[in-house]
């Protein structure tokens, strides 16, 4: 299986994602934002960072990069797309995922470990995890306060599209566990078809004991597992 990591001007977790999947033994290639060829990737990673400086709104300008038309096309054909942090924001801005990001409710950038409760283990991105399981993945963002109107929220809840929620170590969904004020502690969601994931936490930052954890591996390995099962 082959991953493609999109690089926008201002992306800065592109290399981290690249190495994360490479170290897991998978083929991976960078895709420059001006490219209009996804180089035969089976999964597209939209990495974190500050594309276009996050000026105007996070992800607002990146979504107009030529490569994004191809990514949208690819997603609509069922291809796997995972947007991490700024990548999530880009997926929201380009409409592949519903809702929008607001500034963290405490108005400060927050870099810290976060605990995520698995709400749906039946997605291409979480199938090696257990529903209800709690994993540890770091967050680092200033605008991760996920918002969606009550209608949309209802749909997300009812159709199991919330994959990760910020929680306590024993899976409780509390305000203290929420690093940014995100509605219903939402940390990650999938689109209706389930092949596009957006998440604020950084799985690529915990794929090695040296970095303090390996829970992030499970997310990338889930994608591979689902892909190989076809």
């Amino acid at each position: 299986m082959k991953f493609g990591v999109v690089v926008f001007p201002g992306s800065n977790c592109d290399a981290d994602c690249y190495h994360a999947v490479k170290d897991l033994g998978h083929a991976v290639e960078y895709i420059w934002h001006k490219d209009t060829d996804l180089k035969g990737s089976d999964c597209i990673i939209i990495p974190g960072g500050f594309s276009y400086g996050d000026y105007l709104r996070s992800g607002a300008i990146a979504r107009f990069s030529p490569v994004m038309d191809k990514v949208i096309e690819f997603a609509n054909q069922g291809g796997y797309v995972i947007g991490i942090c700024n990548g999530f924001q880009i997926l929201l801005e380009c409409g592949l995922l519903p809702g929008a990001m607001l500034r963290n409710n405490h108005l400060k950038f927050r870099c810290a470990d976060s605990l995520l409760k698995i709400e749906n283990a039946d997605t291409p991105f979480s199938n090696l995890l257990e529903k209800g399981q709690v994993i540890q993945v770091p967050v680092a963002h200033g605008e991760g306060n996920y918002y969606i109107d009550s209608e949309g929220l209802k749909t997300l809840e009812e159709t199991g599209r919330i994959v990760f929620r910020y929680s306590t170590s024993d899976g409780e969904i509390t305000q203290d566990a929420n690093p940014n004020g995100s509605v219903h502690n939402i940390a990650g969601i999938v689109n209706e078809a389930g092949n596009v994931l957006g998440m604020m936490p950084h799985p690529e930052r915990c794929v090695d004991e040296l970095l303090g954890g390996t829970d992030g591996k499970l997310i990338f390995q889930s994608i591979v597992a689902r892909f190989e099962r076809g």
């Binding site: 105007l56 709104r57 607002a60 929008a100 607001l102 963290n104 108005l107 109107d149 004020g181």
Partner: protein, 82 residues
């Protein structure tokens, strides 16, 4: 020379942590008169020479395409001669 001022604010239904933080700050600084603060964005666009109709349509387009996120934001704008 035409230019435009675009005012973008969060929709009423969405709470504005920045605004309320400022409101609390003002209160603690001795301005209890201020019941509410909402913070928004202001864009000043230099448009060069063109008819107002063209300008109106152009700005509308730029707002809906790029400057504004309709999920959370609303906007108004005005045109200025200078």
């Amino acid at each position: 020379m035409l230019s435009a001022r675009v005012f973008v604010t969060l929709k009423k239904s969405i709470l504005d942590p920045q605004g309320s933080t400022i409101q609390r700050a003002l209160k603690s600084m001795g301005y209890p008169e201020v019941d509410e603060v909402r913070q928004g964005k202001l864009f000043e666009l230099k448009l060069g020479d063109m008819e107002r109709e063209k300008a109106v349509q152009l700005v509308e387009e730029m707002c809906t395409k790029l400057l504004v996120n309709p999920v959370i934001e609303q906007y108004t704008f005005e045109l200025l001669e200078d």
